[in-house]
């Protein structure tokens, strides 16, 4: 019977993840570990599959709106991919308890970042690397093309390295770190950093998913219903989102995230 519940649960996870701009991993890993009692390593591996599916499936829609900066995505993917290599090595040496605590702390960080008001500050000058690689670009806004520059590209790359580490350890897309690097540090416009982050997430997740897959940690019994369920849920969420008032839902969800974060941390401490 439990096997029947995982598929609709994944649809719900994908639905709310899409509505609230949170990856399915943030929802599905706690569900698999706290409710279905699956070992966190299998849960992390299954979650990465769903991230690849949703990102790769929606990549063309990110590009059509002319918001995705493909060149910037490729440069920053160097950071995330090599971060994923480090993250996988760390994940194999960490005990399950540590992974629970790390995930709980990440949920608290996500809740804080989701509450934080994002203020857009655009870069005045272009970093020399952005100049050489032509990473600066423009995006459409109310019928006009707005040009933007990029600051502090090396620091953005370093943050992406840590984003890759967390992605591999926790089974998340690390979208929050990517947005922090792009709009927070590199001063990319918010719409561009969101689109570029979503575009990059599939490659970030694939880096460690491939390693987990070859190690035999991606179990089709859970990865299959999770992947399909999250794709369906995310698609439904995208359809419904324009019609819903998401702000009150977001506050409720942040509250739930904090509760689940505490549960994960306690599970890690108590074993």
């Amino acid at each position: 019977m439990l096997a029947l519940i995982l598929f609709p649960t994944s649809i719900i996870a994908g639905f709310f993840g899409s509505l609230l701009g949170l990856g399915g991993g943030v929802i599905i890993v706690p569900i698999l570990t706290l409710y279905f009692k699956v070992d966190i390593r299998y849960a992390v591996a299954a979650s990465l599959i769903s991230i690849i599916a949703t990102s790769s499936g929606a990549a063309s829609s990110y590009l059509k709106d002319h918001l995705t900066n493909v060149r910037l995505a490729l440069v920053l993917e160097i950071g995330t991919v090599f971060g994923a290599i480090t993250g996988f090595m760390l994940a194999t040496s960490l005990k399950s308890n540590s992974l629970f605590i790390a995930f709980g702390l990440f949920l608290l960080f996500s809740a804080f970042m989701t509450l934080r008001q994002k203020k857009e500050k655009l870069a005045e000058k272009n970093h020399p690397w952005a100049e050489k690689l032509q990473l600066h670009s423009s995006y459409p806004e109310r019928g006009n093309w707005i040009k933007y520059n990029l600051e502090k590209v090396p620091l953005g790359l370093i943050i992406m390295y840590f984003a890759g580490i967390f992605s591999a350890i926790l089974g998340i897309g690390s979208g929050i770190f990517k947005m922090l690097a792009m709009d927070g540090v590199m001063k990319t416009p918010l719409k561009v950093s969101s689109a570029t982050s979503n575009f990059m997430i599939g490659v970030t997740a694939a880096a460690s998913a491939g390693a987990y897959f070859l190690r035999g940690d991606i179990k089709p019994e859970i990865a299959s219903p999770v992947a399909i369920g999250i794709i369906i849920g995310a698609w439904l969420g995208a359809k419904v989102m324009p019609k819903l008032k998401v702000s009150s839902l977001r506050i409720t969800f942040i509250g739930l995230m904090v509760i689940v974060a505490v549960q994960m941390i306690l599970k890690g401490i108590n074993g």
């Binding site: 019977m1 439990l2 096997a3 029947l4 279905f36 009692k37 699956v38 070992d39 390593r41 299998y42 599959i49 690849i52 599916a53 790769s56 499936g57 929606a58 990549a59 063309s60 990110y62 590009l63 059509k64 002319h66 493909v70 060149r71 490729l74 160097i78 991919v81 090599f82 994923a84 290599i85 996988f88 090595m89 194999t92 399950s96 050489k132 690689l133 599939g202 490659v203 997740a205 694939a206 880096a207 460690s208 491939g210 390693a211 987990y212 897959f213 070859l214 190690r215 035999g216 991606i218 179990k219 089709p220 019994e221 859970i222 990865a223 299959s224 219903p225 992947a227 399909i228 794709i231």
Partner: protein, 121 residues
């Protein structure tokens, strides 16, 4: 639309279809192997290191063709972003942008290095 973006859009649409194919393989395999009376979670409550090759051998021995189909679908899905990066290498090289082609190639090498970790870690 800029030239690079146009081609990347074509690549992304192609990959979108790839996700559908992978999804169909995964879903078909899951349906074939689905048994409502069997609990798939209990064996996964304790972590056991079991390579992909060993898992495949076990699936073949037990005639679990549904799991074999799902696993092939999952493997195909994981390869799609790698394919995107490979096509980006070719795209930038063909466009005469050797620096960007090199950057994409570094990402590709990183992906392969990451994958091979699963064989020896």
């Amino acid at each position: 639309m800029r030239n690079v973006e146009k081609i990347e859009l074509k690549i992304s649409r192609f990959l979108g279809r790839g996700v559908m194919v992978a999804g169909m393989l995964i879903f078909s395999g899951w349906l074939l192997s689905f048994n409502p009376s069997k609990d798939p979670f209990t064996p996964l409550q304790v972590y056991r290191s079991y390579s992909l090759i060993n898992s495949f051998q076990l699936f073949v021995m037990l005639d679990e063709w549904g799991n074999i189909l799902s696993t092939l679908g999952l493997g195909f899905l994981i390869c799609l972003p790698v394919l995107r990066v490979l096509l980006s290498v070719m795209l930038f090289y063909k466009n005469g942008e050797k620096k960007m082609a090199l950057i994409a190639a570094i990402v590709l090498v990183g992906l392969f290095l990451s994958f091979t970790q699963g064989l020896w870690v």
